[in-house]
């Protein structure tokens, strides 16, 4: 079952299954390695709706989704 990335629990590997939204926003996340099928996990969530810290392979990212982009993921297993 796919859920929004921001709803995924912390430190749980997730596989990216869908990228929806503006083409430029999708391209930008893809350029940083968040392509379909890639595994990522949330290191920590932001305070007060702020961005989350994300790890995609060896890349550390600050990420906050908004109306122009939605990332759906599948949870793989508990860390």
């Amino acid at each position: 079952m796919s859920i929004r990335l921001e709803d995924a629990p912390v430190n749980t590997p997730c596989r990216i299954v869908s990228l929806e939204g503006e083409a430029s926003a999708i391209l930008r996340v893809q350029e940083l390695g968040m392509t379909l099928g890639t595994t990522c996990y949330i290191v920590r969530k932001g305070f007060w709706g702020g961005p989350m810290e994300l790890t995609v392979n060896r890349t550390h990212l600050g990420f906050r989704a908004s109306g122009n982009l939605q990332i759906l993921v599948e949870l793989l297993h508990a860390a």
Partner: protein, 615 residues
């Protein structure tokens, strides 16, 4: 001797590309540790074995499908469609050994351009220290290009890179590793396969992980961020004051020396009150410029600025902006010019424009001497509740009023002219590293030089014009008139008085007399001119810390008028250089014109309100 060939230095952000460029060329340029810091193509020359090549350092990009303005520059140059920068003869591709995946994706696109490539792999010391490594010979066979491992910051492998750059045969047209029409997923699949086959990563970067656990923590990270910002702003006052006082005293001594040696002549007045007063009013800001730039550069280079943008993203979202907007806005507290230029790192056009329009409201270092002079002249040096300095509270309030107004203007623009929701925030965190002192020196030197050249030229020219207006026509003053009275008589009969008195009715509702009107008008070239203009107009010393000028202004400017002038300066866009850079970055005079009109209306209204309430 003309350079033989031009080679572009290309790579993703945070690969150590700019450090390598510095080491190769010896040229002075800025090295940043957050994505998009290199916003202009810099040129340098490499000489080796009697041969030369020209290097172009292009802004870092993740792909040839550009998103932000600075990345588009790289793509246009590489594709040979940039209007001013010619297509290079070859590419020096720089990739980060500790995180090769994204670099390889970009490489797969570059390989299809048909340009000869040299592949330089940086940060090999980091990989080796972590117990990792890579197979450069296997890569050479697969890619068909020469592989050059280096440690840019330590100069290791640089000789080989130089020899390869000047050699006509070392850069080769690479094997096309991925079909040109491949999707980005296919490119990542290839890159991950290459990384799996040729790379052995050691342990993870434990230092960065440990630091991020604290510095990105929702509570501790925020507290540390606030502490860093408090230190940032306090340093402007604490550390700059003694240096500014020293420069001030030196300028006063030089002026006194000029008057003493040349006598009370028209030429002496020109040199002392025109040239030296103008130059002095610029140089006195230098300590603040230095301190601000040292601070900002350290924050950039150690990797904290990207984290700061992350921490303030939610707050910036309240004003329709994103965390990336924080970087240009923070820079604008030093000077709006680099602030506006660094707005190029914001991929969203609407966010970028709203940020650019908000930057002039941040209290740049040029406003500080104006505030300092007026506060010391008009605000009593008493304490609030026996602890807080009233003058300090007023100064802090002016900073907050400017920043808050800028953010509210951004919000207004995002709701009207640049309508659009808050866009996705996405920023790569570079690993923490110690700032390079050489890079710090280069940055601070370049920014200080720019400040003195740009602002200095304008201020000196306007100071000389103002001197002509105040010194001519020469009044017929009796021989025994005391010097201050003589200066006042001269001023009353000067062209400056005529100009000031003609325009003054427009500013009368704000409590400005003709002298203040003239000072305010003169500062439309550059804000800091107000200080030297007041010095010239009131025939007293120029510096804001000079007691006679403060004393003269204290008796000449009532409290209500002083507050009214301060309110005017919080909002008014009084900087020719800022407007010129706005035009360049937005591509039209429309936006600086709108910014000028908007800030004037705000300044006039705020000043009128403050004067009406305070009187």
């Amino acid at each position: 001797m003309q350079p033989e060939r031009t080679i572009a230095v290309v790579g993703t952000p945070n690969t150590g590309k700019s450090t390598l460029f510095n080491v190769l060329t010896g040229l002075q340029q800025r090295v940043g540790n957050y994505p998009g810091v290199t916003v202009e193509p810099l040129l340098g020359t490499v000489t080796q074995d009697g041969k030369r090549v020209q290097l172009i350092d292009l802004p870092g990009t993740y792909s040839l499908t550009s998103a932000s303005e600075d990345e588009r520059l790289t793509v246009d140059v590489l594709r040979g469609v940039h209007p001013t920068v010619p297509q290079p003869d070859a590419i020096l591709f720089v990739m980060n050994a500790s995180n090769p995946e994204k670099c390889l994706v970009l490489y797969s696109q570059l390989a299809a351009l048909g340009l000869p490539i040299l592949l330089c792999i940086t940060m090999i010391d980091t990989v080796k220290a972590a117990g990792g490594g890579f197979d450069d010979i296997a890569m050479y066979h697969e890619f068909g290009v020469r592989i050059l491992p280096v440690v840019g910051s330590k100069g290791l492998g640089i000789g080989d890179v130089k020899s390869a750059l000047v050699s006509e045969n070392d850069a080769r047209i690479p094997t096309v590793v991925v079909a040109p029409e491949s999707t980005i997923e296919e490119r990542f699949t290839w890159a991950r396969d290459v990384e799996r086959r040729f790379w052995h990563h050691g342990s993870t970067d434990a230092r960065t992980e440990r630091l991020d656990r604290i510095l990105l923590h929702p509570i501790f990270g925020t507290i540390i961020f606030v502490a860093v910002m408090v230190l940032f702003f306090q340093s402007i006052f604490w550390w700059a004051s003694p240096l500014m006082d020293g420069i001030d005293a030196a300028m006063s001594a030089i002026r006194a020396g000029v008057v003493q040696s040349m006598g009370d002549t028209l030429l002496s007045s020109f040199v002392s009150n025109g040239l030296i007063a103008g130059v002095g009013s610029v140089i006195v800001f230098l300590p603040q410029i230095l301190i601000l730039n040292v601070f900002i550069t350290i924050l950039e280079e150690c990797g904290y600025l990207a984290r700061a943008a992350f921490l303030v993203d939610r707050f910036m979202g309240l004003f329709g902006l994103q965390g990336r907007s924080f970087i240009p806005l923070l820079g604008s507290f030093a000077c709006a010019i680099p602030g506006i230029m660094s707005a190029r790192i914001i991929p969203s056009y609407r966010d970028r424009m709203a940020t650019i329009m908000a930057t002039p409201f941040m209290t740049c270092s040029a406003r500080l001497p104006v505030y300092a002079l007026l506060i010391s002249a008009c605000i009593p040096a008493t304490r609030l509740w026996g602890v807080l300095s009233v003058q300090g509270v007023v100064l802090t309030a002016l900073y907050i009023a400017g920043a808050l107004s800028g953010l509210l203007i951004a919000l207004l623009l995002k709701r009207t002219m640049f309508k659009g929701g808050v866009v996705t925030f996405l920023m790569e965190f570079p690993p923490y590293r110690m700032p390079s002192w050489k890079s710090l020196w280069i940055t601070v030197y370049n920014r200080s030089k720019d400040f003195l050249q740009t602002a200095g030229t304008v201020i000196v020219v306007f100071s000389v014009i103002l001197w002509v207006l105040t010194a001519l026509p020469r009044a017929d003053i009796p021989a025994n008139t005391p010097p201050l009275q003589a200066a006042q008589l001269q001023m009353e009969g000067s062209y400056a008085a005529t100009v000031g008195k003609t325009i003054q009715p427009m500013f009368a509702p704000l409590g400005f007399d003709w002298k203040i009107t003239l000072g305010v008008l003169s500062s439309y070239a550059a804000r800091e001119t107000f200080v030297s203009a007041m010095g010239q107009i009131y025939a007293a010393d120029v510096s804001e810390s000079d007691v006679p000028l403060r004393t003269v202004l204290h008796s000449a400017i009532p409290l209500a008028t002083g507050l009214s002038i301060l309110a005017f300066y919080v909002y008014a866009l009084q900087c020719v250089s800022t407007m010129a850079i706005m035009k360049r970055e937005t591509g039209s005079w429309k936006w600086p014109a709108i910014a000028f009109a908007m800030t004037f209306v705000l300044a006039y209204t705020a000043s009128l309100l403050v004067f009406t309430i305070a009187k």
